[in-house]
Amino acid sequence: MTYKPLFSIPSKPLSRRTVLRGAGGVAISLPLLLAMGPRTAKAATLPKRFVVFFSANGMIKDQWQPSATGTGFTLSPILSPLAGHQSDLLIMRGLNNEASYIYGNNAHDTSCATMLTADRLMVGPSGTGRAGHVLDGTCHGPSIDQEIARVIGGATRLPSLELGVQSTTTILEPMVTRISYRGTPGNAKSVPLEDDPKKVFARLFMEAGTSTSALDTLKKNRKSVLDFVVRDFQRLESKVGAEDKAKLDRHLTTVREFELSLDKLATMPNSACVVPPQPTVNLNAVDCIQDDRPAKCYGDYTALGKAQMDLLVMALSCDITRVITLQWSTAESTIFFKWLNARGEHHLMSHDPKTYREDLIKIHTWYATQFSYLLDQLKSHTDVDGSPLLDSSVVLWANELSDGDVHNRRDLGWILAGKGNGAIGTGRSVKVATNSTTNQLFASLMTMFGSPTDTFGATQWKGTLSGLT
């Protein structure tokens, strides 16, 4: 892979003052400091990162699509918050999520399960259609984030990180609320999301303040315990049937991976990372006073989302992981955007785009503002050579539907941001070739991340997507 410097906004050397202020006063990524020195690292050796940003319920197409294709386009009203990032974007119209229609499943409430897997669904744990609204279950194959993590995840302590913003406050089935699936075709399991920024922080920075010698002791002790655990698995697996053995074996695999990752435990702060402050936003209700009365309070959608995005950037910047999904709410999201003076909850309004056109535009524009914040942060944090993290990243903003009202899975409006070390030609708006599928986009991404293929997900849509570079 050759590295094409495509900086449209020059990454100027930063003063120490700028660093401190830009990173919130406390959270400083030390690679950033290298920006103040001469560039020495070879760009070609920079790692690539993959980020998914999910928001639900389709879009208002005429307010979303740019004025023209090519490089000379004007951003639409919905995407106007991204004006400062126009040169960082590859705006794609026309992709189809065909897999969501296999077996007559329509996109009614399953698109989110097929969105990143581009694969069919399987009959799932609630029974053979006895108890599910849709053909219940799980996705047949793994999702693109988990597949990329399978290829590049071994290089970092965490293979991947799955973040949610109010993604589990629902009675909807897992298939409507989970976008990441790990495993092999026919045996893929949904990956749980973490909605609590405090738990994410603990997971990312658990070794903060630990000395090298204490960390060495910890590693040695954990290895003693885990070696025993592996032997216990082996003893049990020899006694049980094939199905149980397979189940135990999947767990054993993650134990082994965890044991291997111990070698990547590093003291913090270290040359690559300074620990940011712990998030203060509460996911769970705490006692508070509201309108002079005792009440229960917790962090709102915006505050939780910002905390998760800040942690996302630090996780990449500290190179704790290189693959992260950020899921805002769920498919059929019922978030009530009170702070935008929306007149209804999102999903219900998405089914009446005539009446609620202005409300829906405000919601989509709000998500564009969040996406813009994420890109700002990825730009202000730098890689080892001083270039913005965004240049080595591929950030996919995906929505499970195009037109939410009719649950349309065709003509999706997706955006790639970041240059992936030159693999993505940004600053463009494109209409992909007719009948292009998300399978083909994912095959291209797999190729881009070092595992060349022309097949991803359901095998009937082979090929890669041209025109990304």
């Binding site: 499943n105 009614h108 989970r178 999301l193 954990r222 315990v225 149980d244 229960k296």
Partner: protein, 502 residues
């Protein structure tokens, strides 16, 4: 076996609630460590479905990290933990491994395991570290995290019988959500759980313990989706009676009501479905327009307006959870009745359906908006099953308050339980709950819910003959829930393992 072979039984991992409860039983540590684990995947309302019990990397990490925290706490007083003097050296450690192993792994440990565990102790740089590592090894081991069942052969049969140790764990986790207590372990030690009588005797004893009450509450919390209650958000401007502290009271009310009926009250399904009273915080009396008739331990029995309220499905927890933030959700309410009360699967919407959903126009009722579902032939297939049931609940708004008008118009709550064994026109929820109480399908479905909770899996068609036998007993016991629970523990599925799974 006259009921046919037992069904499929996969190895089961402790759920998050079971993990915490087991640490309390084992070490007396009530910290609640599973809060650090990733969110569980919920299937049919329950968190113990074995088919989705994957261990993602985040959980594998947490099993290790949490075990370190537990061990650090437990070894603050090492001699107390060990039950012998650490200064006595490996004699004490070996003794501890035998005694603690029996409880932690819920069976006697083998000599090979004993030796291996001792080697973990020896890996510590000093004896205190050795004890800590030993405890961590016990807790991260699959022998702790899973209930692995191997069984023993049954003469002349392809299926295998569970051992008394394995039955003890099944009984304990099914009825109390934690490890076996001392009496149950003693019964297993004496092989007292190889007969139906032996099992039933222990099941009845366990049902009288406080842990059983908590477990039954957990069943109802799952069945009724109460996990979603805590995060209910409503705007006080739209709902003047709203208070952000209400959700906790709602969830508690439904659990307290259910356990009070099951353990102290009539004990039957009909009462759960139709009672014109509830139990909870006394402030709920004003919320429902009822009166407090008695108080016990801070819990009020509240007599409700009998023309408005009857049983679990007129309680605020169900009504508010199956609503949207600013409006009722007849689809969610109707779907619940079909799926969780009648166990009816709904067909998926047809492919390439272009759905024009109901518009909210000022001055129209929810029912009028949903007329579109009827007129659109592609929607009607499903929604003619859902909507006429969901709309019967329209007297209750999105926070479970009684109302007779919506948008200035009277609310029409007529409907019908079509495609059930209790058809015929109904008007309003109270008459509907009376029909639910008469329905054999609802009774069967309630048994199915317990089957799913007990065995950690969805039932399949091949389970039907055995489930029907259990339903027969439940009907014979006049719908007494405690009798159902005891009956489940002596079924072939509870006592035997299908050949193909081992």
């Amino acid at each position: 076996m006259d009921n046919g072979l037992p069904g499929r039984a996969l190895v089961r991992r402790l759920s998050n609630t079971e993990y915490d409860a087991t640490i309390v039983s084992l070490l007396g540590d009530k910290t609640g460590y599973a809060a650090a684990f990733p969110t569980e995947t919920i299937v049919n309302g329950f968190n113990n479905n074995t088919d989705v019990q994957d261990v993602p990397p985040a959980l594998a990490e947490q099993f290790m990290i949490v075990s370190e925290q537990i061990a650090a706490n437990a070894t603050k007083d090492t001699d107390k933990l060990l039950g012998c003097k650490l200064s006595a050296g490996e004699t004490c450690i070996n003794d501890f491994i035998t005694r603690f192993g029996l409880r932690a792994w819920r069976r006697p440990i083998t000599s090979e395991e004993q030796t291996d565990l001792l080697s973990v102790y020896r890996a510590g740089t000093d004896s205190a570290t050795g004890v800590r590592l030993l405890l961590e090894a016990f807790l991260v081991a699959p022998s702790f995290l899973y209930r692995v069942e191997v069984g023993v052969p049954v003469a002349g049969q392809t299926y295998r019988a569970l051992t008394s140790w394995e039955i003890a764990s099944r009984l304990s986790y099914f009825l109390t959500g934690t490890m076996p207590d001392d009496q149950l372990l003693a019964s297993a030690q004496a092989d007292g759980l190889s007969t139906a009588d032996g099992i039933a005797t222990q099941a009845k004893r366990i049902l009288a313990t406080p842990a059983a009450r908590a477990r039954v509450a957990e069943f109802f919390a799952g069945w009724l989706d109460l996990r979603a209650v805590d995060r209910l958000q409503r705007d006080a401007a739209q709902f003047p009676k709203w208070d952000s502290r209400l959700p906790a009271l709602f969830a508690n009310e439904s659990k307290t009501f259910a356990t009070s009926v099951v353990f102290e009250g009539a004990g039957d399904l009909t009462t759960l479905l139709t009672a014109p009273f509830t139990y909870g915080d006394p402030s709920l009396a004003a919320y429902y327009g009822g009166t407090v008739s008695s108080m016990q331990n801070g819990v009020a029995r509240i007599e409700l307006p009998p023309s408005q309220r009857a049983g679990l499905f007129t309680q605020a927890a169900f009504l508010a959870t199956h609503s949207k933030e600013i409006a009722t959700d007849p689809v969610s309410r109707g779907k619940f009745v079909r799926e969780r009360l009648f166990c009816q699967g709904l067909p998926p919407p047809p492919a390439d359906l272009v759905i024009a959903a109901p518009e909210i126009t000022p001055g129209t009722t929810t029912r009028e908006r949903f007329k579109q579902h009827e007129s659109e032939p592609l929607c009607a297939g499903c929604h003619k099953l859902i909507d006429p049931v969901g709309l019967v609940f329209e007297n209750f708004d999105a926070i479970g308050q009684w109302r007779e008008q919506e948008q200035g118009q009277p609310i029409d709550v007529s409907g019908e339980l079509t495609s059930t064994d209790v058809p015929g026109a109904i008007v309003g929820v109270v008459p509907m709950t009376a029909k639910l109480a008469q329905s054999q399908q609802v009774e069967t479905c309630f048994v199915r819910q317990w089957f799913r909770f007990a065995f950690g899996r969805a039932e399949s068609d091949s389970d039907d003959p055995r489930i029907n036998t259990i339903v027969g007993g439940f009907t014979g016991a006049k719908g007494k829930v405690q009798d159902l629970l005891v009956a489940l523990t002596i079924t072939p599925d509870f006592r035997y393992l299908a050949a193909e799974t081992k």
